[in-house]
């Protein structure tokens, strides 16, 4: 049997979950032995193979049309989709902005911040992705495995990866399950 292929991507998050993934330290070599780590934001290959991967991992919520595209592409190209971290699972910290309108949020970010001078202006390049409400991944595409945590503990990530690499479905409970 060939090694299962794993690919990851990030959307509206802080990259902290990927940092936590790297925090599994030397254990990443074991994962590399068991699985074929393909495209990730921290490897050279940037998009999951068109021929498909076994496991797709997404960090971050979905807050614009570009993220929607990333989520749909990953869903299409993977067999098992993992939502990694609170942003992917619930919307996380970025979802705080859902309490305000998009206009209010943009105004606050680009015009009203204390460090912005009178030149502040909301970007309006038509090529930019269009902003939306912040959503959890499962609101946009079906998710198979949820790994909550802000960020999830490296031990939890290692457990999830090693189970998936060995063709098993990880079951998060007890000590392995905690949110922040």
């Amino acid at each position: 049997m060939s090694k299962p292929k794993i690919s990851t991507d990030w959307m509206c998050g802080c990259a902290g979950c990927h940092m936590s993934l790297l925090d599994i330290d030397e254990r990443i070599l074991k994962i590399a032995e068991l699985a074929d780590i393909r495209a990730t934001p921290i490897t050279d290959l940037k998009e999951p193979d068109e021929s498909g991967v076994d496991v797709g991992i997404l960090e971050g919520g979905i807050n614009n049309t570009a993220n929607e595209e990333v989520a749909h592409r990953m869903r299409k190209r993977c067999k098992i989709l993992v939502a990694l971290g609170d942003c992917a699972v619930f919307g996380g910290v970025p979802a705080m902005r859902n309490f305000f309108t998009l206009e209010e949020t943009l105004k606050r970010a680009y015009i009203e911040t204390e460090s912005t001078d009178s030149e502040g202006k909301i970007p309006d390049n038509p090529e930019l992705a269009r902003m939306t409400r912040v959503r959890a991944v499962h609101e946009v595409v079906p998710v198979d495995i949820f790994v909550p945590g802000c960020p999830p503990d490296p031990d939890v990530i290692y457990y999830v990866l090693s189970e998936l690499a060995q063709g098993r479905k990880p079951e998060l409970k007890g000590e392995l399950l905690h949110w922040h």
Binding site: A83, D86, V89, F90, G91, G92, V93, A95, M96, N98, F99, R133, R135, A136, H138, E139, I145, F146, V147, P148, C150, E171, L172, K173, L177, H178, W179, H180
Partner: protein
């Protein structure tokens, strides 16, 4: 007894037991949110649903009483699915975002319940409606976004504290926690007891002082007692890195059963007085830090010549917040060692002298706080339970919905007046006539138990009406309230003099209530100070030196004035104050949370305080400081303080093991 089978386990429980409590007895854990062991079952959250054989739908275990031969399943697939669904709905009702909540990570009962159910996520997103955050209260914040409408706070506010500030407005999805009739928390009738924050299962009611100070799971917990007043409530002191984080009411305490007041819960964390960490001696008009040895040398040089100088020697005054051990050594040092004629406590007997005098005459005449639990009439005489001994006030107020009649007899109105079924406002100083008049009215109404010797009821009534300015019909209305009650309890406070107290004892006997008096006494160890005879007025009269064992107490304006100008002043204190600024020698001592010692509460219950914090190096316990001084002076202060406490008759039976 009823038979019940829970998850295949058969047990017997008394009638009236709920399925939840029966399951607990059988060692089966059923998850709950709205239920709280100290509150009446409510059945609001539905997390505790169980399957009962023969019943069509799932039933809430918390509010379902066991019936005979009931068969219950607490963990079937149907139950599990229902619980997950309940949690999903609660999570999506408001905005339960764990990453930015201060109780997340072990302190949130909602989060813990979901984690126990193995929930990695919930299917429905929240409604994204921002709910208000009420930060108008000095000690508490209500974040409605986190509220799950379990009503624990509402029930605690009513059932435990009797304050009824918190309530719910509207119905269904529009339900909101409100204060009074919808005023900001800080402007409401809240008395800042903080019980709501202690029972809140989520981060909806946040205690400002401890919020975001670290997870409660990661703190050290020390069960101890509060030394804020004479009630002596059980507390749980939460500390982290030798720093106070939070104070909780101790649910297991036989005194307060988990309830605290502002004085016990919040004020200790507000203490921002400067700590004294080294002994200091006045040199060239300025206090200079010195070693203990040097400070003790100065004290010895100044005080040694004053030994046996009765009236021109040392006047000594100690805080009634000190443990009994320190008070007993203090007394032995100054009364027996120095033979001083002025050895007393900061309260100068203000709250204890009447009771001590009456106890000399008739022995113990009081009862303990438990009597309030079954009282159907409470008569409060000369006590302001809104400001002092507040927990006793809570115990009375929470009885009012059960139709307990409250009678207030006070020359001035206080916050209890408007709650009272009847109020008598005698002219100040005429309280004893009113109480005798009430006794006479009892006799006249034929409600008195026992025959008073030689009482002229008509004459007593007339005196009461004349001297106190009370109408006869009011007297007889109050007398009938007391007379009709089967378990009346009388609570008296500091405004009651010995004569009035005697009249009160007589009245309680006529009411047939046996020993049914409760006296509130001011400070944590006021009763102990009184038993040690430390209750004379502090009037300096030619004394050459004053020794103040202040501990962590605050000196009163009057004390500072009385002491001003004394040739030599020693103060042992934990914090700087006007008094330490005047002192010639200052000795650094522990504050309450660092103290290990005993306290005699108003019921005569001897309780031990356990240190939750470690004092700084060089800071002595109050007892050790007194012993160090005594040793230099060659005076032995070892004392059997338990025996000492029992030497004079006490107003209440002392529970000293």
């Amino acid at each position: 007894m009823l038979n019940v089978t829970i998850d295949g386990k058969s047990i017997q429980v008394p009638e009236g037991t709920t399925v939840l409590r029966a399951a607990e007895q059988a060692g089966i854990k059923v998850p709950v949110l709205c239920d709280h062991p100290h509150l009446v079952p409510f059945g609001g959250c539905r997390l505790c649903v169980v399957e009962v054989e023969g019943m069509r739908t799932l039933q809430p275990a918390c509010s379902l009483p066991v019936s005979n031969n009931m068969v219950v399943k607490t963990n079937s697939d149907k139950v599990q699915a229902a619980r997950k669904f309940v949690l999903t709905l609660i999570f999506s009702d408001r905005n339960h975002f764990c990453p930015y909540c201060q109780v997340s990570g072990g302190d949130c009962e909602l989060q813990n319940a979901a984690l126990e159910m193995g929930m990695t996520h919930w299917d429905y997103q929240p409604n994204w409606k921002p709910y208000p955050v009420d930060a108008s209260h000095p000690y508490l914040v209500i974040d409605h976004n986190r509220c799950i409408l379990c009503r624990r706070c509402v029930r605690a506010c009513g059932e435990l504290v009797g304050n009824f500030t918190l309530g719910i407005e509207e119905r269904g999805a529009s339900s909101m926690l409100v204060c009074d009739l919808g005023v900001p928390f800080g402007e409401s009738s809240c008395v800042s007891c903080g019980t709501c924050s202690q029972v809140c299962p989520t981060g909806a009611i946040i205690d400002r002082q401890s919020a975001y100070q670290g997870l409660e799971k990661k703190v050290e917990r020390t069960p101890s007692i509060c030394v804020g007043c004479s009630v002596g409530c059980g507390v749980e002191i939460l500390t982290r890195d030798n720093r106070l984080v939070r104070i909780l009411g101790l649910w297991d305490s036989p005194v307060n059963g988990g309830v605290l007041c502002k004085v016990g819960r919040f004020l200790p964390l507000d203490d921002d007085r400067e700590r004294i960490t080294r002994p200091m001696v006045r040199k060239d008009g300025k206090l200079q830090p010195v070693s203990w040895d040097e400070a003790l040398n100065v004290i010895t040089a100044q005080l040694k010549p004053l030994i046996n100088q009765k009236t021109h020697g040392v006047a000594a005054i100690a805080s009634p917040r000190l443990p009994v051990e320190a008070l007993a050594s203090f007394k032995k040092l100054f009364k027996d060692g120095f033979k001083s004629d002025l050895v007393t406590s900061l309260e100068e007997g203000a709250t204890t002298t009447s009771a001590s005098l009456v106890a000399q005459e008739m022995g113990a005449f009081e009862t303990n706080l438990e009597a309030l639990q079954s009282a159907d009439c409470v008569v409060v005489v000369g006590a302001d339970l809104y400001h002092e001994e507040q927990v006793v006030g809570f115990m009375i107020k929470r009885k009012l919905p059960a139709n307990t009649a409250l009678v207030v007899i006070d020359s001035a109105d206080n916050e209890f007046t408007h709650l009272a079924r009847a109020t008598l406002n005698p002219v100040a100083g005429s309280e004893s006539y009113v109480l005798r008049g009430l006794g006479a009215a009892l006799v006249k109404l034929d409600l008195a138990k026992g025959t008073p010797a030689g009482m002229n009821a008509e004459a007593e009534l007339k005196t009461a009406a004349d001297k106190a300015g009370i109408r006869l019909e009011d007297l007889s209305r109050v007398a009938s309230l007391i007379g009709m009650a089967s378990r009346p309890v009388f609570v008296y406070g500091r405004k009651v003099n010995a004569d009035t107290l005697k009249a009160l004892v007589e009245l309680s006997r006529l009411a047939g209530a046996g020993q049914s008096l409760i006296g509130v006494r001011g400070a944590a160890n006021s009763l102990a100070a009184a038993q040690l005879g430390l209750e004379q007025p502090f009037k300096r009269n030619g004394h050459q030196a004053v020794y103040v064992a202040l501990g962590d107490d605050q000196p009163s304006q009057r004390l500072v004035q009385e002491i001003e100008g004394v040739p030599f002043l020693v103060v042992q204190a934990s914090h700087t104050s006007r008094l330490t600024a005047m002192a010639d020698v200052v000795l650094p001592v522990e504050m309450w949370a660092e103290t290990s010692g005993h306290y005699l509460n108003l019921e005569g219950r001897l309780q031990a305080s356990t240190p939750a914090l470690k004092p700084m190096e060089g800071v002595y316990s109050n007892t050790a400081a007194i012993e160090a001084v005594a040793m230099r002076l060659g005076i032995d202060v070892t004392v059997d303080w338990k025996a000492e406490l029992q030497q004079s008759p006490a107003p209440v039976t002392l529970a000293i093991a």
